[in-house]
Symmetry: C2
Subunit: 307 residues, 2 copies
């Protein structure tokens, strides 16, 4: 089983409107609700791949209940821990006339010290059944900034390799706990290290403790710096669509690779293909299965010295 | 007890943002949730006035549960009927930089024939304890367009006077059931009758069945055309603030007047004072009690022949 952790889960609400009237009233044509958060997206992709997965994290209130209902609907096993405060929502307003989406991001629910300890205990209980663990996304208020470092140490104690996908302070504070793999994107590399050269940023993150860094460069594919070598993996062509969740699809493939101990070149090819196939699917956490099969053999993976 | 009916109740959510970024992501600084809908606002005002009131209407799903929780928090007695579909939300995004609010209005939940019959039965059971009934707002999908006519006839059968506050087709379809009082605003008069002269529009609505028409003209106060005479009531000065809910505050005072059989001049003075005092309060359904006391004796009420 691959365990995914989403500490700052959200109920993602999508409103379709004919045109968004700023400063006035807009009728919503349709409402869709979905359990959201990067770790949950990773589990959705794993589940579709036929890989056994469990979702954990923190949810609360009636929004948390909606979130759980949606996971049950998707047949995704969950071991979420309930907190006192209401889970957050994100509201995406898709404006049909402008062809653009405006996102409203609620602040995360405040987590108490007791709730954080309860989560840590639950997570520790799940680790012995996990072949890999994925720690994704931002930290909600109240959770210690070195939360991921604690979770990484617990995973290491059970011999479970971990993928960490976060940015900024939570990423920097986690590195001393030596994650097996981190997956920043180009913006996160700059934001976290302050360095504009991606390779220098990657090396800084490795020097601080990350064993492997796989950086996602959008339509340019992935760059991997590992103890076994450096690779660059590119999709054969650009895929049009919704890039939200493309990084989560890549993380799903990377976690499977870590769990199976597969060679980097094949893992990276799958990660790039899955990421591109997810861009072709309308929702984060889903992918175009036919496109994935086709792209898998077309991804060019080769060593590199310079970017 | 004054019974208020809100068939298309909503959970009103308010997001405060520093600036709304259309087509991009905006962090929400604070989230407030409140049971909303015109009838519910009327009950809030009645409750604050110390008048016994009960809220009824249709709610469903987890949003309906939040709505009920908020009424319980406000100590407002409710006899809401549960439907299968999820209650709607409205999202008001207050942009601090622009000083303006953008409203997103979800469509109402679909009501089945069985649910409508269950509501009608519940309503009929509540009428014998009511001194007046207030029917407010739009109709959700699935409810017959002449819904208010049926509810008015049931009220009349129990000798309970009714205030109807709606517009368009639901208002026109209700008039043959002869409501004791309707309270259109200036825009609703035009939208419902197609007439631009407010007095001609009022007379048309009375000819179609409304016994009394009290039209709200915003900061200009109220105009009442009743079987007992015609009055105009004006506040002594303009009140700055949030006009949402001002009409509901006026309806609360009018319903109290109908229930008590008070003379029109005093009822209209209170309605204008309460309406103006509600503009001074930040939320619909609340009012500035000190301002209300002060304005009550300052409202000018007099007969009129022309507007």
């Amino acid at each position: 089983m691959i365990l995914t952790v989403t500490l700052n889960a959200a109920l993602d609400v999508t409103y379709r409107v004919a045109r968004l009237h700023q400063g006035a009233s807009t009728r919503v044509l349709s409402v869709a609700e979905r359990a959201g958060g990067k770790g949950i997206n990773v589990s959705r992709v794993l589940h579709t791949l036929g890989v056994d997965t469990t979702v954990t994290g923190l949810v609360g209130g009636l929004t948390g209940r909606s979130l759980r209902q949606d996971l049950a609907l998707a047949a995704l096993p969950e071991a979420l821990v309930t907190i006192g405060q209401e889970s957050r929502r994100t509201v995406a307003v898709f404006d049909e006339a402008a062809g653009e989406t405006s996102m409203l991001l609620e602040p995360g629910a405040q987590v108490t010290g007791d709730e954080w300890r309860a989560f840590t205990a639950r997570y520790a209980g799940l680790l012995p059944s996990a072949k890999a663990v994925v720690l994704s996304g931002s930290l909600p208020p109240g959770v210690p900034v070195d939360a991921y470092a604690s979770l990484l140490r617990l995973a290491r104690g059970c011999g479970v390799p971990a993928v960490l996908d976060t940015e900024g302070e939570p990423l920097l504070a986690a590195l001393p706990a030596r994650p097996a793999l981190i997956k920043p994107n180009a913006d996160e590399l700059v934001a976290t290290t302050g360095l504009t050269d991606p390779l220098a940023a990657i090396e800084q993150l490795r020097a601080r403790g990350a064993r492997t860094v796989v950086a996602s460069l959008g339509a340019e594919g992935l760059v991997a710096v590992t103890p076994e070598g450096r690779w660059r993996a590119r999709p054969p062509h650009r895929v049009a669509g919704n890039p939200t969740g493309a990084g989560d699809a890549a993380v799903a493939a990377l976690a499977v690779g870590l769990a199976n101990g597969a060679p980097w070149q094949s893992v990276l090819a799958r990660a790039v293909a899955l990421s591109a196939a997810s861009v072709a699917a309308p929702l984060a956490g889903s992918y175009d299965a036919v496109l994935y099969q086709r792209l898998r053999d077309q991804v060019a993976v080769g060593p590199f010295t310079q970017l």
